[in-house]
Amino acid sequence: MQQSRLNVLVIDENRIRVAIIEEGLRDAGYDQVTVIDNMHGLARRIADLNPDVIVIDLENPNRDMLESMFQLSRAVRRPIAMFVDQSDEASIEAAVEAGVSAYIVDGLKQERVRPILKMAISRFNAFARLNRELEETRGELEGRKIIDRAKGLIMRSRGLSEDEAYALLRKTAMNQNRKIIDIAQGLVTAASLLDPGGKE
């Protein structure tokens, strides 16, 4: 396969995201993929690797350094240009939107490298989505813990079963037109105020 001969470098300080991109590229048949997640000595490593394509996250503060390297023929063996040709505004916009940027050595055909950019954009977007979901899940888990503590408080002070304690929380929430988590949080806070030395 022709594309497998492309030497692709992925630079991203986010280790999870960089791994996701690497995996995507390997799955698509690019077997010469190098990832850099530590920026130490970046310029020398790029010169040594001599990549055909560089994919880098847009927020990386080293981009000015990279672009200046590409201008100097002695810093890299082959001249490197911005990835997308300027007429392709949609691709530029999609890349910036996703937070990724890419560079290729001059002379490489756009068609050969466009799949790499497409892949990077979709994986960056997927990563952002994943991050949002993780945040939400983390919030939900936190909420479940608080509800469990509130149930425990009710079970102990009123001698109710777990199901009855939860039913009471739910009924109170419905009557007051509030969320269960808010009622539970209020109860936990109140309990800690009344009994600061207590475990619950």
Binding site: D64, E67, E93
Partner: protein
């Protein structure tokens, strides 16, 4: 009912983002019915990209960069205009402790004198064995790159053969200096004060000593946006002018340092920001030196987008072989800076304004009242080597620099 304007502005966390931050935070944007959103970026490349795809309408940007965009040197290149500058000066050259000791043995002194300290650096380089000294700048198309090279060249040092110049993110420069990866750097604030106070560096000289009252950051505007929103752009210029007056008042310096120190802006201690605002710079070894006009946010027509500034940047692009000179490119560079928009936007404020759009740079040896629409003084604006740049005689200037 006034029309409200929504404007999104990009900035890089540096002291001279002050005008935009103050316009946003101190109510000057609101006074002009502007909903100003500030977007913090970590590289100039990122500023350029977001301008290109219109995530941002305007930006705090390196003075030469909009010119480089219009010349197609910096892609994806949005068409840019510069209707206002964001102050004068503000940079310095910091060197490692080891290099400073060697320079001091060769006559360098803590007074930041560009001539004496440049000669001392040349002597160090002449007697030195091994790899060339390495200096960092923030971007190839930056005032930092050009003033460092100007200083070196006028001191008898060839910035191409006698020294290596690399690009680094300013927040990494202090560490690179302390680790011996670089021997010096030219950056804006707070990174010189940071290098001196927190990483044991020494100030070799300052932008104000190399070229007094010289251009630095500007307001870069996506030209398409500017054409579509002339009223919003004019309102922003008024807000930024009010902000520049506020920033210039010494009794606001502490509040400004505190404001910029917030995480959303520069995100560094106020004590690293105050020296540049007050013009009292720590130069190393516990010594503080007062510098006139270190950073000028308002006086001396500091926000006026001089075409002679744009053209000087262009001559340096030619000098350092970033581009070959043609009359057409010279025209593109000059037309990037738009004093006409500045004048039209601020004309109702009764400001003292320069009547010319370009001036001979380096001609004023003292503070000089100039013929204009009010009381205005310019200068001194001298280059440390006595150089003069006459924008009407640009070819001769380019020729004189290439023969060196």
């Amino acid at each position: 009912m006034t029309t409200r304007h929504a404007i999104t502005a990009g900035f890089v966390p540096l002291l001279d983002s002050a005008l935009l931050v103050v316009a946003c935070e101190m109510g000057f944007a609101e006074e002009q019915a502007i909903d100003l959103t500030l977007l913090r970026e970590r590289s100039w490349a990122s500023i350029r990209d977001r301008l290109a795809v219109r995530h941002i309408d305007v930006a705090h940007i390196l003075g030469p960069m909009p010119i480089a965009c219009n010349l197609g040197l910096n892609v994806p290149a949005p068409e840019m205009i510069v209707p206002m500058a964001l102050g004068l000066g503000g940079n310095a050259v910091t060197v490692s402790s080891a290099l400073w000791q060697a320079m001091a043995e060769n006559g360098a002194t803590a007074d930041l004198d560009a001539r004496a300290n440049g000669v001392a650096l040349r002597k160090v380089i002449e007697t030195r064995a091994g790899a060339p000294l390495r200096f960092a700048v923030v971007h190839p198309y930056s005032g930092h790159n050009y003033e460092l090279r100007y200083w070196l060249a006028a001191s008898g040092i060839d910035p191409v053969r006698h020294i290596e110049i690399v690009v680094l993110p300013p927040p990494d420069m202090g560490d690179a200096l302390a680790e011996g990866v670089i021997d010096g750097y030219c950056a804006g604030e707070p990174w010189n004060t940071f290098g001196v106070l927190r990483r044991g560096g020494y100030l070799a000289t300052v932008k104000a000593a190399i070229w007094r009252s010289s251009p630095e950051k500007v307001l870069g505007v996506n030209a398409q946006w500017g054409r579509a929103h002339p009223e919003a752009m004019a309102a922003l210029l008024v807000a930024l002018h009010q902000a520049s007056l506020w920033c210039a008042r010494p009794d606001n310096h502490e509040a400004l340092a505190a404001l910029l120190s917030k995480q959303a802006y520069v995100g560094r201690d106020a004590e690293l920001l105050l020296p540049a605002l007050a013009g009292n710079l720590p130069v190393g070894g516990g010594v503080v030196h007062a510098v006139r006009d270190f950073f000028v946010p308002n006086a001396k027509a500091a926000t006026f987008p001089w075409k002679s500034h744009a053209l000087w940047f262009y001559t340096q692009m030619v000098r350092w072989k970033q581009i070959e000179h043609t009359v057409e490119r010279q025209r593109i560079a000059a037309e990037t800076y738009r004093p006409d928009i500045y004048r039209a936007a601020l004309k109702d404020l009764g400001l003292a304004m320069p009547s010319a759009s370009a001036k001979v740079e380096g001609a004023l040896l003292t503070e000089t009242p100039v013929g204009s629409s009010g009381a205005l003084t310019l200068g001194p604006d001298g280059f440390f080597d006595g150089g003069r740049f006459d924008p009407d005689d640009l070819d001769a200037y380019i020729a004189s620099q290439s023969s060196r």
